[in-house]
């Protein structure tokens, strides 16, 4: 009995419960048809949400005011540059991956440089830098859509017993981040800073270094997502990151991470990402349009944040 209660006290459980509820509601409507297919699709798309949300989660955990708005532009830039560098050659895949990660590293450096040197809130720093990255992506490729190398495309779309291979990799990555969060000096530092930046600094934590690493991490994950998503969707499109701006934040908030900072939750990201995709699938199945879908997503976010309650300090 008590172990069941313990499970239900976990903050991430509700995202999964909601996701399962929505899935059941969907397959009831279709009388069981395509139940597995919906799940496979959900895992495919949730994977991409989770990659960026992992980075966004670490940034948001740094405390009020920390958020990375350059994720979409970073995805686009990394995806564009990588697909062009690979030039549909299977032999170039590893190089392309490294290039994408390098783009992420550069983006993180620029972002934190702006935050630190111009002393502007991260939200504005990442917003203005995202304009630059987006333009850089356009300049680099003139909007041409280059196909990914076939091997990479196969990898990004393949499944094992209905589970996308990429999802397995990202679950492993999630476990690694989960461990990093709870068991490494870096992870402890991030949650300490998010609770009380001043106390963290007085307790001997190098606040600037930890924040720097976190913005780098977030940008690198966004770049990784750009790399895989362009492989998954047949090439990098200029607007491919667009939905991930709001999605990454929504997944973090619904997944039970505290927007006031200091508390992060990795399992919840999966629950929230699956839930958001399944809501969309359900509404599609019911024949409801994009309007209701957006409206519901928004109300869910506002509802969750209102229920989760306030922050300790002002914005």
């Amino acid at each position: 009995m008590s172990s069941i209660r313990q499970i239900f006290e976990k903050p991430w459980i509700w995202a999964f419960v909601a996701a399962i509820g929505v899935w059941i509601a969907t397959i009831t409507f279709t009388q069981g048809q395509g139940a597995g297919g919906v799940l496979t699709a959900a895992f495919s798309f949730a994977t991409f949400s989770v990659i960026v949300a992992l980075g966004q989660m670490m940034v948001i955990t740094l405390g009020p005011g920390n958020v990375d708005l350059s994720i979409p532009a970073t995805m686009t830039l990394a995806g564009t540059v990588a697909t062009k560098v690979m030039a549909t050659q299977d032999s170039m895949i590893i190089f392309g991956l490294l290039v994408a990660l390098g783009v992420g590293l550069g983006v993180g450096l620029v972002n934190y440089g702006l935050i630190r040197l111009l002393r502007i809130p991260p939200i504005i720093a990442t917003l203005s830098s995202s304009f630059l990255f987006q333009s850089a992506a356009i300049w680099y490729n003139r909007g041409l859509r280059i196909k990914p190398p076939p091997l990479l495309a196969d990898f990004a779309t393949s499944t094992v017993w209905g589970v996308p291979v990429l999802a397995i990799f990202i679950i492993v990555l999630s476990v690694a981040i989960h461990i990093a969060l709870h068991r490494t000096v870096y992870g402890r530092s991030v949650t300490a800073i998010g609770q009380n930046m001043r106390a963290a600094s007085l307790a001997g934590i190098n606040v600037n270094r930890v924040r720097f690493l976190t913005y780098i991490l977030c940008a690198v994950f966004a770049a990784l997502n750009g790399f895989f998503f362009s492989a998954f969707s047949g090439g990098a499109a200029l607007n491919m990151g667009q939905t991930y701006l709001l999605n990454s934040i929504a997944v973090v908030v619904i997944g039970g991470t505290s927007v006031a900072g200091g508390f992060a939750n990795v399992p919840g990201l999966w629950g929230a990402a699956l839930f958001l995709f399944l809501v969309e699938a359900m509404l599609n199945t019911y024949g409801l349009g994009a309007g209701i879908r957006l409206l519901l997503t928004g109300l869910i976010i506002v509802g969750v944040i209102t229920a989760a309650g306030g922050q300790k300090t002002a914005r």
Binding site: I124, L127, Q134, I138, W139, G143, I305, G309, G310, R315
Partner: protein, 346 residues
């Protein structure tokens, strides 16, 4: 240790003019003039009334949206939903404000014949727009009472507004009500209407926020909320009033935009969120501390619009325009850091 405070009253005029505070307030106007001169240099024909009209037309709705953002910044919050909200207003304006509930595309073919007046009256549009402002006031209350981060709440609201806009107007279409079109196509002698409108917006909001007694209280609440509360003012009411004002000016922005485009499109104003923040910051507003400037905000919005035209005249790929906007924002912020450093050194 401390010198007599009477000693430095005789500051020279030059010292006053080059003080960081004056430099900070001149910066927005200075950047506007620089861009305007650059445009005239590249394209002398822009100096005509028609040229100016074309240059400044689009800055009217952007200026209004920037003013809306400024009211939120004033109480130390940020509105990430203003673009979606402006799109919602455009959608409502192009349908219900023109032909009432009957003009909603979703209801096509479901209407009784003849259509009763209650379904065609534009009053329904007025009610919906007023409700939008009410929602903004409630958001202010929610953010204050629950002490929520405005970024996340307004991010969620951006989904809500976008969803409502799509429900009201699924595909681009509809038409601007005649009075909206008439206002936006007014022609004024000598100076183009757009410039007149910008000046009026700047003066009215400047008077309202910087010169009225309650305006001082709103700004004070951004500067030192505790002492304003201790003086007996309701912070809840202040938050609601400034959010409602943001909703009101966001609505004006939507209507102005609709008047210029004549037809509606729910996604037309997606970029307004970023533009409004950039415009307010360009115009000298700060993120915290209640330091805002309505005149600066209008100038900032105009500068951003002109920067776009400038890049067009440069025959630069229009895709670079957003990048250029980002660069301008970063340069202005960097300049401000330099000025502040100079101030700290004094």
């Amino acid at each position: 240790m401390s010198h007599a405070p009477t000693a430095d009253t005789g500051e020279s005029l030059f010292a006053r003019l080059t003080s960081p505070r004056v430099l900070r307030s001149i910066l927005p106007a200075f950047s506007l003039v620089v861009i305007l001169l650059a445009i005239f240099y590249l394209q002398p024909r822009a100096m005509s009334p028609i040229g100016l009209k074309l240059l400044f037309n689009l800055s009217v709705p952007i200026a209004l949206a920037t003013i809306a953002q400024m009211f939120v910044l004033c109480v130390n919050d940020l509105d990430l939903s203003i673009g979606a909200y402006v799109g919602f207003v455009v959608a409502v304006g192009a349908t219900m404000l023109d032909g009432g509930i009957a003009a909603l595309p979703a209801l096509e073919g479901m209407l009784p014949d003849p259509v009763p007046w209650i379904l065609t009256t534009p009053i329904s549009g007025v009610i919906v727009l007023a409700a939008g402002i009410g929602v903004y006031a409630l958001l202010g209350a929610l953010i204050y009472i629950r002490d929520l981060p405005s970024i996340v709440v307004t991010l969620g609201m951006s989904f809500v507004w976008a969803g409502l806009a799509v429900l009201v107007l699924p595909t681009p279409g509809g038409s601007a009500p005649a009075f909206v079109r008439a206002v936006m196509t007014l022609s004024t002698p000598v100076v183009p209407f757009a410039i007149v409108a910008l000046v009026i917006i700047a003066i009215v909001v400047h008077f309202g926020l910087m010169r009225t007694a309650y305006g001082a209280v709103i700004r004070g609440a951004g500067g030192n909320p505790r002492s304003v509360a201790r003086a007996g003012w309701s912070l809840l009411k202040i938050k609601m009033v400034s959010f409602a004002l943001a909703g009101f000016f966001g609505m004006l922005a939507g209507l102005a935009l609709l008047g210029l485009t004549t037809a509606g499109d729910a996604n037309i104003a997606v970029r307004y969120t970023l533009l409004s923040i950039a415009g307010a910051i360009l115009g000298g507003s700060e993120f915290v501390g209640g330091r805002v400037s309505p005149i600066g905000a209008v100038i900032g919005a105009a500068t951003l619009t002109l920067a776009n035209s400038f890049l067009t005249f440069l025959k630069l790929n229009p895709d670079f325009q957003i990048g250029a906007q980002g660069a301008i924002l970063i340069i202005i912020l960097a300049l401000r850091v330099l000025i502040n450093r100079a101030e700290a050194r004094r």
